[in-house]
């Protein structure tokens, strides 16, 4: 008797990953077209300092958030209908989520390389600056790692929100939204500048703490694990709606 089957997990990974990457490629294509058109008409776009990898980071976070909401609201009923256990669905979709997050970064690297190629052939000046985390840049491998972790937080946080909307009532829905916003905003602020400022009735309250790279990474991984734990508890015996 098994509640997790390798064959089903692989099918779920394949299905979810391919579907989400199709959407990711569409979204990337639209962003590239918009950027190219903008560059033709607006001079500032011709001389951006930031690399393509950096430029797609924020859109990718929104994209991963949307994917998380869709995952939470729609997928479980399909897979249970197919005879896939909740645990296989959870494991497969989790792996697919990480893979999509990493793949968006690899698309960013590819676009950066393409932009450097375009620079060699046209007057266009490609940006080279990587995203700033903890107030500094960290080179491609570490930037990709940090961005992948942050994209994953967006995905799993939104998955929780989507699933809460699927399964629970008003109060839980509200709590999930507030919790999600606090979590994602907090992490973004942490990685942006290593300090946070909250203003209460005009009084600035600084939550300042110097995080080292390893401690920030560990904190982020810890949050990811906590999100995955919450998701597992929510999903493992969840009823599935028939609609």
């Amino acid at each position: 008797m098994k509640s997790i089957t390798r064959k089903h997990i692989l099918h779920v990974i394949e299905d979810v990953y391919i579907q989400y990457m199709i959407w990711a490629l569409w979204a990337t294509g639209i962003v590239v077209v918009l950027f190219t058109v903008s560059a033709l008409f607006f001079r500032p776009f011709m001389n951006l300092n930031q690399s393509a990898l950096t430029l797609i980071t924020n859109p990718a976070q929104i994209f991963m958030f949307v994917l998380g909401i869709i995952t939470g609201a729609y997928l479980i009923q399909y897979y249970v209908r197919m005879g896939v256990t909740r645990r296989s669905f959870y494991v497969g979709t989790t792996i697919a989520g990480f893979a999509v997050a990493l793949s968006t970064q690899l698309i960013g690297v590819l676009l950066t390389l393409v932009s450097l190629g375009v620079e060699a052939l046209t007057p266009y000046q490609a940006g080279r600056q990587l995203a700033t985390y903890l107030g500094t840049t960290h080179g491609y491998p570490m930037t990709i790692l940090i961005s992948t972790l942050l994209l994953s937080v967006h995905f799993f946080g939104a998955w929780i929100i989507g699933f809460t909307f699927y399964r629970f009532r008003f109060i839980a829905k509200t709590v999930s939204i507030i919790g999600g916003i606090i979590l994602i905003s907090g992490l973004s602020l942490l990685w942006d500048s290593a300090s946070m400022m909250v203003t209460i009735r005009g009084n600035a309250l600084y939550l300042s703490r110097e995080f080292t790279l390893p401690s920030a990474l560990m904190l982020t991984v810890g949050i990811l694990l906590a999100l995955l734990g919450i998701l597992y508890r929510m999903i493992k015996e969840s009823p599935v709606k028939m609609h």
Binding site: M1, K2, S3, I4, T5, H8, H11, D15, Y74, Q77, V80, R81, M82, G83, V84, T85, R86, R87, S88, K236, E237, P239, V240, K241, M242, H243
Partner: protein
């Protein structure tokens, strides 16, 4: 291939509602079961437990002796066909069938495509472009193509037109002859589908009112027809379900099994004795219970 389903004192509670209350029964492999009940009787709740959509809050559901909830092998033995929202399904029928086939080892794609033709469905058409009846036909085709040992239809055929429903009934009979498949047909169309049932489960307010072979159940009622006075005299002591009058001819439906001597008495009095339909019995059984 035949699989047995066992309900042991099964209960299911939602927040404020007790949907199932101590349901116990054994569904033998290879038989076709009719599951009938009024709206809100608990039919869909019961079926959702077999398909592991939910976990019972009390008692146990067993498939071949094992609880199916979160057991991959048992979950693969069940296919539950129901009317689900296809408005977001922009993939074609063909793509969807092929994608779903990856999850079910015995999925017969050739059969599915041949049945699409019989139902007049275009495989290239997107699911969300199909009419309600066509979506129902798609669900029925897929349910048979999956070849699951336990196949459940939860009122999925109600959106179909009469010719399509007839085709569906033929598929049920064909599947019963060819495969040792346990089928459960949950329906309101009792009179139309009664001939398909080997066994009938009547569910009312979360409890099983009847769990009997079809033939045994319909023997529980008789219709006595004849001239008014002898009919009135004959039915004394029996529980009356319904009566109809045409001129001086009276036809009375009775609940209960006629004793052999009463059968003989009816024959001598020139009264016609005929069986009551399952639908009439069902209406009577659930109406009586709703009064108490």
């Amino acid at each position: 291939m035949a699989s047995t389903i066992e309900f042991q004192e099964v209960a299911l509670e939602y927040k404020d509602t007790r949907a199932l209350d101590g349901v116990s029964s054994t569904l033998e492999g290879g038989c076709t079961y009719g599951l009938i009940g009024r709206n809100g009787a608990g039919k869909t709740s019961l079926l959702s437990l077999i398909a592991s959509y939910r976990k019972p809050t009390g008692g146990r559901v067993l498939i071949d002796g094992i609880e199916p909830f979160e057991q991959a092998e048992q979950m693969q033995k069940v296919w539950l066909a129901y009317s689900w929202d296809m408005s977001e399904e922009s993939d074609s029928i063909a793509t969807t069938l092929k994608q779903n086939a990856a999850y079910r080892p015995d999925y017969d794609l050739d059969y599915a495509f041949s049945m699409l033709e019989r139902f007049g469905l275009d495989p290239k058409k997107a699911l969300n472009k199909l009419s309600v009846g066509m979506q129902a036909a798609y669900s029925v085709i897929e349910a048979f193509a999956v070849n699951a040992p336990i196949t459940i239809f939860d009122e999925v055929h109600h959106g179909m037109d009469a010719p399509s429903r007839q085709l569906f009934y033929e598929m049920v009979l064909e599947a019963r002859e060819k495969f040792q498949r346990t089928m459960i047909l949950s329906t309101h169309l009792v009179s139309e589908m009664a001939y398909l049932f080997d066994h009938v489960l009547v569910l009312h307010r979360g409890r099983l009112l009847a769990d009997e072979p079809y033939d045994t159940l319909v023997e529980r009622g008789v219709t006595i027809t004849g001239p008014e006075e002898p009919v009135e005299a004959f039915i004394q002591g029996y529980q009356e379900i319904d009566r109809k009058r045409l001129g001086r001819t009276l036809s009375v439906m009775l609940y209960g099994i006629l004793k052999p001597e009463d059968m003989e008495r009816a024959r001598r009095a020139g009264l016609e004795v005929s069986p009551v339909s399952l639908q009439e019995l069902f209406i009577h059984m659930t109406k009586e219970r709703s009064r108490t």
